[in-house]
Symmetry: C2
Subunit: 337 residues, 2 copies
């Protein structure tokens, strides 16, 4: 189950993001509203939610944990969520994905040219969000810098991800490089900015960045595991979604490094080819299971989670916030969705 | 001929941009170096130039005109040029254009997914460039704001441009809306930032923004005219490039509003269809000439140029810089390339 802290902040994060969009006049922003599930493709209001809002929630928790009121960090939380969602809009274009969260992706409604605009404009709105922070301009400038650098790391990671397609020699270290940029940097930034809104204590802020980065790594590894072994609601069996989409996520990278002989042949044939049938998906899953990719992925996720916990263990945190953070960490470590 | 001031600053603008890229490590940035003509697609150095660098040159001239040394504004000039070129990289993807400046576009070498990354990352580097400015962080924050807002206007304009495809009821006012965002905003921003690097005098800075915005409008209208009536080197005849590409630039928007009867039919048939032959291009050109689209476009360009000149006429500018600015304005008004 989703920890209660997500429900606690979601409405406020949502309201902050909506009000930033409301400052703008152009149908361009309807694509963003659609993406967040606030309207349908015809512009009619919807009450859909756009996801768990993990990053902005963590951002607010970090602020609270260091003694700040979470509301002080709301614009920062919105900024982080805009950066994450801009990257999803561009990702869907780049991966040719027609569906996200059981809805048509922005590009599959408006076309790729307009979806590129929606994504880049949303990244710009993250800066508009940061400008709402009630802090001196010189400190604001520093947070801008952090968010810009996290975005650059994110794009460098996305570059690597795409460049790995068609390659079979990717190592786990290559994977860590890629995910470190694509996912962990923004997690680190979310926690760093959130904690910086409460405190100018460098040690505390650094610890939260370190915490966030490692949590982001654990989050992505778990996401990769769920993409394969996450069970479908109907059957309870592994969904194998990412095998079907031929995504070279961690378990596959691991298996490609580990498998030999006919098992390796099987992987090369599947990931090198275009053929697709239920049997080949099952055979790939069998290889992954046989070479221990599940256990190895879980081991890696746990080791990042431990590093994350270690990073903040020495800080004397506000009890309530420490408990909430602990709940989020535990949830991310064991989640099944 | 290109006024000498372009040659004067180009090397310094170039060096500034290169050194910003040099701070980064990733093959991602090779796509940008390629775009600027510094390397070929295999990474070998080239001595190509990436264009006239109109915007950064104007940025530096504005700084000098208000009494600052142009070098103070170099990072701002680089930032503006990064914004312009990010938009070109995305434009080429959106328009499916395989060639720019007689070279393959970034996407046609690296594919659209990676070119999206190159464009967005280049927009982020514009911020890195601004951070090099030797001014207090609070003033830097203001320039960041200006560049972010100009980018948002640019994307809103690009949104309109794409949304006009397939429509035949676009008015000249709609066109002005679109180009005001897509082109004029960044011109205005280039001049505003450049002048702000020399002076905190609001009236002077406002005048330069006004100057830049109107100059940008004139620049785009002239560009639209050259896209149709610009002569090919070989024949000396109108190239009709933008007619061939079915781009609804100003002359076409004007003609669609003005033409009636069979002439309108001709335009609707051509711009609504997919057929292409030399005769239909000639017939469209004949309609444009017959309804006075050339003269009307020239009239509009001249009126924006006059407004631009008026905006700075009342300022007492440094003589040398005023002459250089005058030369650039005259060049933009009469250029044939």
């Amino acid at each position: 189950m989703l920890p209660s802290v997500f429900a606690l902040y979601q409405a406020e994060i949502d309201a902050e993001m909506r009000s930033i969009l409301e400052e703008r006049q152009s149908p361009l922003y309807d694509m963003m509203r659609y993406h967040f599930g606030w309207i349908d493709e015809n512009g009619c209001p919807q009450c859909g939610s756009y996801g768990k809002a993990v990053r902005p929630t963590l951002c607010l928790l970090a602020c609270r944990a260091l003694g700040g009121h979470h509301r002080r960090a709301l614009p920062a939380a919105a900024a982080v969520e805009f950066v994450h969602n801009y990257s999803l809009i561009h990702d869907d274009i780049q991966d040719d994905d027609r569906e996200r969260r059981h809805r048509a992706t922005v590009w599959s409604v408006w076309g790729k040219p307009q979806a590129i605009n929606a994504g880049t404009a949303m990244r710009m709105l993250a800066n508009s969000a940061l400008r709402r922070l009630d802090i001196p301009l010189s400190r604001q400038a520093h947070l801008h810098y952090l968010l810009d650098e996290a975005t650059i790391r994110l794009i460098e990671g996305q570059y690597l991800d795409i460049s790995y397609e068609g390659r079979f020699d990717i190592t786990v270290a290559d994977y860590v490089d890629m995910v470190g940029g694509k996912t962990a940097s923004l997690f680190g930034c979310a926690l760093e900015i959130g904690s910086a809104m409460a405190s100018e204590d460098t040690a505390g802020v650094d610890a939260f960045r370190e915490f966030g980065w490692n949590l982001g790594m654990a989050f992505q590894v778990r996401d990769d595991m769920l993409g394969i072994w996450g069970s479908t609601e109907e059957t309870g069996k592994p969904s194998c979604n990412d095998i079907r989409r031929r995504k070279k996520t961690l378990p596959v990278v691991h298996a490609l490094q580990r498998a030999t002989g006919p098992q390796r042949e099987e992987l090369l044939r599947y990931y090198g080819g275009r053929s697709e049938d239920a049997e080949s998906v099952d055979r790939v899953l069998a290889v992954l299971n046989s070479v221990g990719s599940f256990d190895e992925s879980e081991r890696l996720a746990d080791s990042y989670t431990d590093k994350a916990k270690d990073a903040v263990a020495s800080l004397s945190l506000d009890t309530g916030a420490a408990r909430d953070i602990g709940e989020v960490v535990d949830f991310l470590q064991t989640r099944r969705f």
